[in-house]
């Protein structure tokens, strides 16, 4: 008998609780609905504030840039200085397009292997050296990019007597890319589950084999995403190349030649007193944007393919 009462008691309090909770939620429902409406309106406003400038910018870019980039000469010709007889003879920006490609290529060749290796090392080691390198790369990541240009200028252009050149510019860009690659590689490698490492070790693999054959492949999507991010950043940088590449008016891929670059052409053309050259700026900007867009898009597609294959 006493067992019965003990059983009934808790059930009743349970019901009371339930009714209580229901009535509270009933009362708060109206309030919650109002709050939710306000939040929706605020979110829409925030979206508008963000989207409007972006749309305006893109409109401007395409509206003014498209007419420029539709001429084949824009890609194949070297720049010309307009004259009073031919005020619209601006030539093209073949040197800047080639220059940007060359700079990015050399910078990648320098920064990617070093960056990935250092990133892997940071993720796998707890040594003092690793801690120091981590602090250095984090500091470098936050350093203003003109500093890299200044460094490349005084060190490579002047001290090493290399002169204004593609190599000096790509060195500055490489230094800029390096911390991005190091940090993203470290994060990607740290994200690889510990159980995979152990599985490798338990099969008698040496630690370096585990790093190279198991951890690195498993981290590759993250690493490549970081590399693309670094390249996208480097492509658009003006400050570090401004001081060192020399703005060559020739098509050259040679490391020691002075070259031009798309951001540099934008900078120079925008200062020009010829309206035709100032109009050309939008075409150059459009090409630059398309470069970066294609790069990051292909990286995303590649990464998602890779992810699906798992």
């Amino acid at each position: 008998m006493s067992d019965m009462t003990e059983l009934v008691e808790p059930v009743e309090t349970g019901h009371q609780m339930r009714d209580e909770i229901r009535s509270i939620s009933e009362r708060s429902r109206a309030r919650r609905q109002v709050r939710s409406r306000i939040m929706v309106v605020l979110c829409a406003l925030a979206l508008l504030v963000t989207a409007v400038p972006l749309v305006l910018l893109l409109f401007q870019l395409f509206n003014r840039g498209l007419p420029v980039v539709l001429h084949i000469g824009f890609y194949t010709q070297l720049p010309q200085t307009p004259s009073l007889i031919a005020p619209n003879a601006t030539g093209g920006v073949s040197n800047a397009i080639l220059g940007t490609l060359v700079l990015t290529l050399y910078a990648s060749v320098m920064a990617i292997p070093v960056g990935v290796l250092v990133g892997v090392y940071l993720a796998e080691s707890d040594s003092k050296l690793a801690a120091t390198l981590r602090v250095i790369s984090q500091t470098m990541a936050g350093a203003p990019s003109i500093l890299m240009g200044l460094f490349a200028f005084s060190f490579i252009v002047r001290d090493l007597h290399v002169g204004f050149s593609a190599i000096a510019g790509s060195f500055a860009l490489a230094v800029l890319m390096l911390p991005v690659i190091v940090i993203s590689s470290e994060i990607a490698v740290r994200g690889v589950p510990h159980t995979l490492r152990e599985a490798g070790l338990a099969l008698g693999a040496k630690p370096h084999k585990v790093s190279m054959k198991i951890v690195l492949p498993a981290a590759v999507t993250g690493i490549v995403t970081g590399i693309i991010l670094a390249i996208s950043r480097a492509i658009g940088e003006t400050a570090p190349v401004l001081l060192v590449i020399g703005g060559g008016y020739i098509n050259s891929w040679k490391p020691l030649d002075p070259v031009s670059a798309l951001p540099l052409s934008i900078y120079e053309n925008a200062k020009s007193e010829w309206p035709s050259l100032r109009t050309e700026v939008w075409g150059i900007a459009l090409v630059l944007v398309v470069f970066v867009f294609v790069l990051s898009l292909s990286a995303r597609i590649w990464a998602s393919r890779k992810q699906q294959a798992r």
């Binding site: 159980t195 995979l196 338990a202 099969l203 008698g204 585990v210 498993a218």
Partner: protein
């Protein structure tokens, strides 16, 4: 800290349960204790693992089963603060101090983990032969043969034969675990360590792996950690029961044939545990 640890270890000596009639020992544990940062996780482990038998490690959560198992292929080496005391012999060679490298030890003592962990970037085939590749085997004919035999021993060959180049992650959990067993078997190990290999699997996959183990012990010596009493009773020949002492450190309570541990144990705590009387 170190001396304190040694003192703790040497306070109690469990008499080794010797049973010469069982046959030769593949591995011998003598007063094995493992500590992390000076805190003892498991101690007093003394028993022989007999060749071509399945030895199960049972005991409640935290009694140090995994910790003990991982000492047997030196997986604690890379854990900062981990120390292994006592002696562990593989065919008479001390695996920590004797004339054997970690790499060699791990090729002779394979391991299957609790959660299936095939290498996600490798195909089924590459997973199966990964251990051989890590150890420098390059010849395709050897790799092909090892892949086939190991996948057959793991009862996986028939279902994956036609899709060896497919990513291992496309397999079901049970198939992935069998792939991990195949991966370990491809090294032709003498001892296979298994840490709750079926705890992430459904009953059918579990049954398949249990059947597999009975088949496997003709070729390898199996040490398996399990929480499942029926499983321990069904598949193991010998059984070690671990339990936490007052200081929360796990210790070996009893080691004997599975038959005796389950039907007629010496320590009353063993019976309580196998009957599910405490947890």
């Amino acid at each position: 800290m170190d001396q304190e640890f040694m003192a703790q270890v040497e306070t109690k000596v469990v008499a080794p349960t010797e049973s010469p009639e069982r046959g030769a020992a593949a591995m011998q544990l003598k007063g094995v204790a493992v500590s992390f940062h000076g805190r003892v996780a498991v101690r007093d482990c003394t028993f022989d693992v007999t060749k071509n038998r399945v030895t199960s490690l049972i005991g409640p959560s935290g009694s140090g089963k995994t910790t003990l198992l991982r000492a047997l292929n030196r997986l604690h080496d890379l854990t900062p603060g981990a120390k292994v005391a006592g002696q562990i012999l593989l065919e008479g060679t001390d695996i920590y101090r004797g004339d054997i490298t970690v790499t060699e030890l791990r090729t002779r003592v394979g391991m299957v983990f609790q959660r299936p962990n095939p290498f996600p970037t490798m195909s089924i085939y590459e997973n199966a032969v990964s251990g051989l590749r890590f150890n420098g085997v390059k010849k395709k004919s050897i790799l092909d043969e090892a892949a086939e035999t190991s996948l057959k021993s793991a009862a996986l060959w028939d279902s994956v034969q036609s899709r060896l180049k497919v990513a291992a992650s496309n397999l079901s959990g049970g198939e992935q675990q069998r792939l991990c067993i195949a991966r370990a078997l491809a090294m032709d190990p003498e001892v296979l360590l298994m840490d709750e290999p079926t705890s992430a699997l459904d009953p059918i996959a579990t049954l398949k792996i249990e059947e597999l183990m009975t088949e496997l012990k003709k070729r390898v010596t199996v040490i398996i950690v399990t929480h499942n009493m029926q499983q321990a009773a069904r598949i193991s020949d010998d059984c070690a029961f671990l339990l936490m002492g007052e200081d929360r450190a796990g210790e070996l309570i009893e080691f004997d044939t599975t038959e005796k541990i389950f039907n007629n144990p010496i320590d009353p705590r063993t019976l309580d545990y196998t009957l599910g009387r405490f947890g």
